[in-house]
Amino acid sequence: MFKWLEKNLPKIVLAPAVGLISWFVYGFVLWTLYISFTNSKILPKYELWGVGQYVKLWASRKWLISVDNLLVFTALFLIFCIVIGIILAIFLDQKIRAEGVLRTIYLYPMALSFIVTGTAWKWILNPSLGIQKMFIDWGFENFTFNWLVDREMAIYTIVIAGVWQSAGFVMALFLAGLRSVEDEIVKAAKIDGAGLFTVYWKILIPMMRPVFFTSFVILVHISIKSYDLIVALTQGGPGISTTMPALFMTQAAFHKSQVGLSAASAMMMFMAVAAVIIPYLYSELRRENAS
């Protein structure tokens, strides 16, 4: 008995984590999958109904708009976060005075929830209270910055605020990556005549592949999950122009008595997440087994 215990101790220790995740992640996903095939309305029902919810989902204007928004948002969010993150990391890596202070400034938005900062952002972006008013008060009568209330542009304000919140984290990841590169590589490149730009562009950034991967995964998952951001800034408006899948799903389940439809949309989101994450996890596994 004791021997058995000793031999299996590692697995026993693993059991709580595996058990919890099996139930709370996979069990719940299966539950959602089941519900997506029912005609649940105000509360979950367990009578099977078929694929009607999926048909309804893809016929819904709002869902299509939200998928569209997600694509636009994810693309811009990724590009800006990574570009700004890299630029800041590279610049901070140049033996900068007050690096600690700057780093903290770039990183702190991560610390605050959007429930907190949304208040400020909404105010700043609001044309009659924020930046636009500020410039008009300064005498720039014709200055306009009304993206928040412009249905074509509102999605970009969400990008601005989203990038603000996450770019610092990407910066931290890249800075950490750059700091773990051996000095001698940079020295060798300098002797080889590479300017600062070339050193980063041709040598260091290609070495950051794992960091790119990590950032990509984290950012994609943030953008697919983004909810607080939208609720705090636009609540999906003006109109329904900034609706995103997470908001759609939440509204369907809790506000519109469409629990089944919500489950179907949740399944679509799972699939999107899986489509991005599983290849990543797979390649990760292969890389590890190779080494």
């Binding site: 309305k41 105000i42 909404k122 636009t234 109109g239 122009s241």
Partner: protein, 418 residues
Amino acid sequence: MKKIIIALITLAFTSTSSIAGPKIEVLHWWTSGGEAAALKVLKDDFAANGGEWLDMPVTGGGGDAANVALKARIVAGDPPSASQIKGPTIQEYDQEGVVAPYNIDSVAQSEGWDNLLDPMIAAIHKCENNSGPYCAAPVNIHRIDWMWANKAVFDANGISVPTTWDELNAAADKLQAAGIIPFAHGGQAWQDATVFEAVAMGIGGNNYYKNCYVDLKENCLRSETTVKVFDQMRKLQGYTDEGSPGRDWNVATGMVIEGKAGFQIMGDWAKGEFTAAGKTPGVDYYCAATPSNNGYLYNVDSFIFYKSSDPDKQAGQKLLAKLMMGKNFQKVFNLYKGSIPARLDVSMDEFDKCAKTSNADIKTAGAKGGLVPSFAHGMAQGNTMKAALQDIITEHFNSDMSSVDAANALADSVLANM
């Protein structure tokens, strides 16, 4: 004074037995100034009767967050004792089998609610397709089709309260020319829909409203009248300011109070903001119904009671139901809230001008077939259909969608969700 003594005595007696006394947990989203003060009346009343009140306020998104919490609790098998649910949604919950009519119906019977309420209002609160036992208690009747105007601004621009939509547009043009924001509006989906239903009832008339938004007839939704309604919406949109999208309703009300804007179209809860700012109706501001033919858009706030096996909670539910329909509460609460009592026999003496108007109008409207349920506030339709209508209305209001397209989209959206 007498009341306080009684309260103190009850308190003294119940302090030892408070664990076993009536207990209630109420989920609501009344946390803003006037609403919270109104609710406090009930809480105090409840405590004075030896009950223990567990407050469960969840604000955000006009009840969205509260809905999340409510469903989570129902699914968890641990629903609150009562929550703020109204209109056809009461039936939806009843069909899920989570509502407890057995409990408060006895109170309703012994108190004679059938005699105290208008039959139409009473039916809303009965389970089993509006004809069974009572399972919800109404606390008030809100009127939606109100226009709130700053009197000083109107006077300064030589405007009197408009009685037709054309007059209203003319007034708005005048204000705009004078550099005042004519229409204070918060661009949120439910606010857009609130304005829309007032316009629909006013421009389309009462029968049009019932056909379209209560009975959801397709040909009505696609009709020329609907196009006209959307045209008026587009006009109103032109009268809003740039900062409108996303603004909370009470901020919009504040703009009228401060004279930054001319008027707002909003339910009578807006009055609470005027009162809180120390303004008097007729003196500082106008409260007038939006132009219509004796129409009256009603919205009844009510509480639904959930099944519970805890005898303390059942006792609490009974007590709460009784207090909610109590004469005193209905009066005091509505004085704060801006609405009028659901109970017919409450004296309107202490109420202000606006409430009196409302109380008079509801009777006229009832007689002339103008009493219609608000769909924007979930009285005419369940949540799914409400959202289906609201989505199109808000999309139209916030884009350059044509009125014809909007009317068709509205019909399509309704059909898709049938």
